[in-house]
C-alpha cells in the first residue's frame, strides 16, 4: 500500500478520534484531570513527608543556644517553631508535632564551663519514619553546631566534593519524575480509552473490514489520542514550572522527549484498549500500570540505586529511560549509566514494537461480527 494511502488512513483515523473525544466531554475531562490529580497527590505526599514539625522550648536565650537552634534549622530535617513548655506539651499530646526539643536553662553556661549537657528530646514515636528522622537529625545538628561554634575543637570534618554542578531539592527532583509518570498516565488513558471505545460501540468493525494497513490504523489512533494527551502534558508542565518553580534547563529536550514519552505510552494504551476492549476496564488498568512502574523506575533517585531485583525491573521499564531523559532536560544531569541517545533509542524502539504488537493482536483477534 502506498505511503499516500497510508497517510490518508492515519489522518482519517486520527481526525475521527479527536472529534469523538471532544464530543464525549466526561471522558476528556477524566483523561486530562487524572494525571494532574496524580501530580498534586504525589507532591503533597513529598511536601508533607519532607520535614518533621518540631517545637523547641527555649529555656536559655543565650547566643550559643540561639546558634544551636539555627544549626537545627540548617539541617533541613525539621520544621521548627518555638513554644512554651505548656504549649509544646499540648501540641505533642494532640499529635500536631513529632517532637519537643528543650534547650536547658544553663545551656550557654554549661558549654562555657565544658560541662556535659543533656538535651531533652521528647518524640511521638507513632510513625517510625518521622521518629528516625529526629533520631538522625538531632545528633547531626549537634555536630554541625559544634563545627560552627567551636571549630578549633572539632578535628574531623567532611570535605564534600559534588558530582553534579548544583544541588537539587527533593521536591524538584521528584516533581520531574512525577511529570513523566503523569505523561505516561495521560497517554495510557487516552490511547486505551479511544481504542476501547471503538470496540464498545462496534465501530471497530469499520476498521477491521477496511482494506487498510493495521499499522496505519495504530498510528492514526495514537495521533488521535495524542491531542488530549498533549493537552494534559501541557497542564502538567505548567503546574511544575509555574507554582512549583522547577524550570527546565533544556526546553528543547523537554519538547523532544515529551513527544517521545507520549508516543511510547500512547502505543501501550492502544495495545491495552485492543486487549481489554472496554473503557471501564481500560481506565483502572492504565492507572494500575503506572503506579508500580513509577516506583520501580527511579523516581526518587537513579534507578540503579534500587537494588538487584527492582533494579533489574527498572532496566526493562521504559519509564526508567523516560525519567532519566526528563531529569536531564530539567536539571541537566545524567542519572543513569546510559546517555540521552540510548534513552531516545529505547523509547522509540518501545513505541515501534508496541505498535507492531497492537497491529498483530488486532489482526489475530480483530472485530468479529
Amino acid at each position: 500500500m502506498s505511503l499516500r494511502r497510508n497517510l490518508r488512513v492515519v489522518r482519517a483515523v486520527a481526525a475521527a478520534d479527536i472529534r469523538l473525544t471532544l464530543r464525549e466531554p466526561l471522558f476528556a475531562i477524566i483523561g486530562v484531570l487524572i494525571p494532574i490529580n496524580f501530580l498534586l497527590l504525589f507532591l503533597l505526599f513529598a511536601l508533607s513527608g519532607g520535614q518533621a514539625p518540631v517545637a523547641v522550648v527555649m529555656n536559655d536565650r543565650g547566643p550559643l543556644a540561639e546558634q544551636f537552634v539555627q544549626a537545627m534549622n540548617n539541617s533541613q530535617s525539621f520544621l521548627i517553631h518555638t513554644a512554651s513548655p505548656a504549649d509544646a506539651e499540648r501540641e505533642i499530646r494532640s499529635g500536631s508535632i513529632v517532637a519537643v526539643i528543650t534547650v536547658p536553662q544553663d545551656f550557654d553556661a554549661a558549654l562555657a564551663a565544658k560541662r556535659r549537657i543533656d538535651l531533652p528530646v521528647e518524640v511521638n514515636n507513632l510513625n517510625v519514619d518521622f521518629t528516625n528522622d529526629i533520631r538522625r537529625a538531632v545528633p547531626l545538628s549537634i555536630t554541625s553546631f559544634y563545627a560552627d561554634a567551636f571549630p578549633e575543637q572539632v578535628v574531623v570534618t567532611a570535605q564534600e566534593s559534588d558530582v553534579q554542578a548544583h544541588d537539587t531539592g527533593y521536591v524538584p527532583y521528584l516533581a520531574v519524575s512525577i511529570v513523566v509518570a503523569g505523561l505516561m498516565l495521560a497517554s495510557l488513558l487516552q490511547g486505551s480509552v479511544n481504542t476501547a471505545r471503538d470496540y464498545e460501540l462496534g465501530t471497530i468493525k469499520e476498521l477491521a473490514l477496511a482494506p487498510v494497513n493495521r499499522f496505519a490504523v495504530g498510528v492514526g489512533k495514537m495521533l488521535g489520542a495524542a491531542a488530549l494527551a498533549t493537552a494534559s502534558a501541557l497542564l502538567l508542565l505548567a503546574v511544575v514550572i509555574l507554582p512549583i518553580g522547577v524550570h527546565p534547563l533544556h526546553p528543547l529536550e523537554v519538547l523532544g522527549f515529551g513527544l517521545l514519552i507520549i508516543a511510547a505510552f500512547l502505543a501501550l494504551g492502544v495495545l491495552i484498549g485492543t486487549l481489554v476492549r472496554r473503557r471501564q476496564q481500560a481506565i483502572p488498568l492504565s492507572i494500575a500500570a503506572v503506579l508500580p512502574l513509577f516506583f520501580l523506575s527511579g523516581p526518587f533517585g537513579p534507578a540503579n540505586w534500587l537494588g538487584d531485583v527492582p533494579g533489574a525491573i527498572a532496566v526493562v521499564s521504559p519509564l526508567t529511560y523516560a525519567i532519566a531523559a526528563f531529569q536531564h532536560a530539567f536539571h541537566g544531569y545524567q542519572t543513569a549509566p546510559q546517555d540521552l541517545t540510548a534513552d531516545s533509542i529505547v523509547l522509540a524502539a518501545f513505541t515501534l514494537v508496541t505498535v507492531a504488537l497492537t497491529a498483530f493482536v488486532f489482526g489475530r483477534r480483530g472485530a468479529r461480527h
Binding site: 482519517a12 464530543r23 462496534g202 465501530t203 477496511a210 461480527h369
Partner: protein, 312 residues
C-alpha cells in the same frame, strides 16, 4: 472473471474442543441474493467471519471473488461491502462524516466523492439529514445509512447482517427494494437473517445451517416443496386425540401431523387425492368446524429440518 462469488470447500472451524463449523461446503454464484439461515449458535456468524477474513478456518478452503481469502484478505475487503447487525456507525459524527471516513479507509478518489455521497444519500432518502448526527437517526435511518456506507466503494459483494432487524415496516420494504435493485445491477448479496419472510422475499437461494453443518441448500420455493405441497389446518370438536393423530399420520402422502390448541395441522404431499383422504379420516372421528389449506411456510421447513424455531 469467475462466475462464483463465494466458495467454501470442506471448511471446519474449531474453538478448542468445540466444532463451530463442520466440513461446510457451499457456493454462492455472482449476482444472486444468497441467504444464510440458522438458529442462534448454528455457526452462521462464524461462517461470515471466515468469509470476510476476520477469522481463519481450522481447515478447508475459502475463495471470495476468485481470490483465496487465506492469502489475500485485504484485496477481498476492497470488493466487499458490509452492513453489520449493529451498524458500526460513529453515532456522534454526522452522516456525511461517517461516509467521508469510510471513503478515506477505502481510498475512494476525492474528486467524485461529493457527487457519489449525494447520489447515495438521495437514494436512501437521507440527503436532508446529511449534516445531522447519527445519534439523532431512527433505527431504519441508521440501517439505510449503514447500507449507503457499504455501497460507497461500489463493492462487488455485499454482506448484509439481519437487514431489517429492529426497523419499521416502511423502512423494511424500502431496504428490501434497495437490495433487489442491487441484484439488478449485478451485485452479489449475502444476507443472514432470522426473518424467514425476509429470506423468502429476497433470496434466490437459501442455505440452512444447524450445529455447524449444512442441512439444506435450495431456492425458497424448492425448499418449501421438499417439505410437502399443502398444509391443512383443521379445527375440530372434540379436540383431536392421540388416536386420530396416529391414524392420520399412517395415511400415505402425509408428511407431518401436529395437534395443538384444539386444531390439527397436517402437511401432505400428493395433491387433492391425499387431502381428500385426510379430511375423510378426520371427519370419521370428529366434527370439523373449520378448515384452511395453504402452501407450507419456510418456518415449517426450518422447524422440520432443525427441530428448532429460527428465533429460539
Amino acid at each position: 472473471m469467475t462466475e462464483t462469488a463465494i466458495e467454501l470447500i470442506g471448511v471446519t472451524k474449531r474453538f478448542g474442543s468445540l466444532t463451530a463449523i463442520d466440513d461446510l461446503s457451499l457456493r454462492v454464484e455472482r449476482g444472486e441474493i444468497f441467504g444464510l439461515l440458522g438458529p442462534n449458535g448454528s455457526g452462521k456468524t462464524t461462517t461470515v467471519n471466515m468469509i470476510s477474513g476476520l477469522s481463519r478456518p481450522t481447515s478447508g478452503a475459502i475463495t471470495v471473488l476468485g481470490i483465496n481469502m487465506l492469502t489475500d484478505p485485504r484485496r477481498i475487503r476492497r470488493s466487499l461491502g458490509t452492513v453489520p447487525q449493529e451498524n458500526a456507525l460513529y453515532e456522534e459524527l454526522t452522516a456525511e462524516a461517517n461516509l467521508r471516513f469510510h471513503a478515506d479507509l477505502f481510498d475512494i478518489p476525492r474528486q467524485d466523492l461529493d457527487k457519489r455521497i449525494t447520489s447515495l444519500l438521495e437514494l436512501a432518502q437521507l440527503q436532508e439529514r446529511r449534516k445531522s448526527r447519527v445519534s439523532t437517526f431512527s433505527g431504519g435511518m441508521k440501517r439505510r445509512l449503514a447500507l449507503v456506507r457499504a455501497l460507497l466503494h461500489e463493492p462487488e459483494l455485499l454482506y448484509f447482517d439481519e437487514p431489517t432487524l429492529g426497523v419499521d415496516v416502511q423502512s423494511r420494504h424500502a431496504l428490501w427494494d434497495r437490495i433487489l435493485q442491487l441484484k439488478e445491477h449485478g451485485t452479489t448479496v449475502l444476507i443472514t437473517s432470522n426473518y424467514l419472510e425476509e429470506a423468502n422475499a429476497l433470496c434466490d437461494r437459501l442455505a440452512i445451517i444447524d450445529r455447524g453443518r449444512l442441512v439444506a441448500l435450495d431456492s425458497p420455493s424448492n425448499l418449501r416443496r421438499s417439505f410437502g405441497d399443502t398444509v391443512l389446518e383443521m379445527r375440530t370438536r372434540p379436540v383431536p386425540g392421540e388416536e386420530i393423530v396416529r391414524k392420520v399420520r399412517a395415511l400415505p402422502g402425509v408428511v407431518s401431523v401436529i395437534a395443538s390448541d384444539g386444531s390439527l395441522k397436517v402437511t401432505v404431499e400428493g395433491g387433492a387425492d391425499v387431502t381428500g383422504k385426510v379430511v375423510t379420516e378426520v371427519v370419521r372421528w370428529t366434527s370439523l368446524e373449520e378448515i384452511q389449506s395453504r402452501e407450507p411456510s419456510l418456518d415449517e421447513v426450518f422447524l422440520s429440518l432443525t427441530g428448532r424455531e429460527l428465533r429460539e
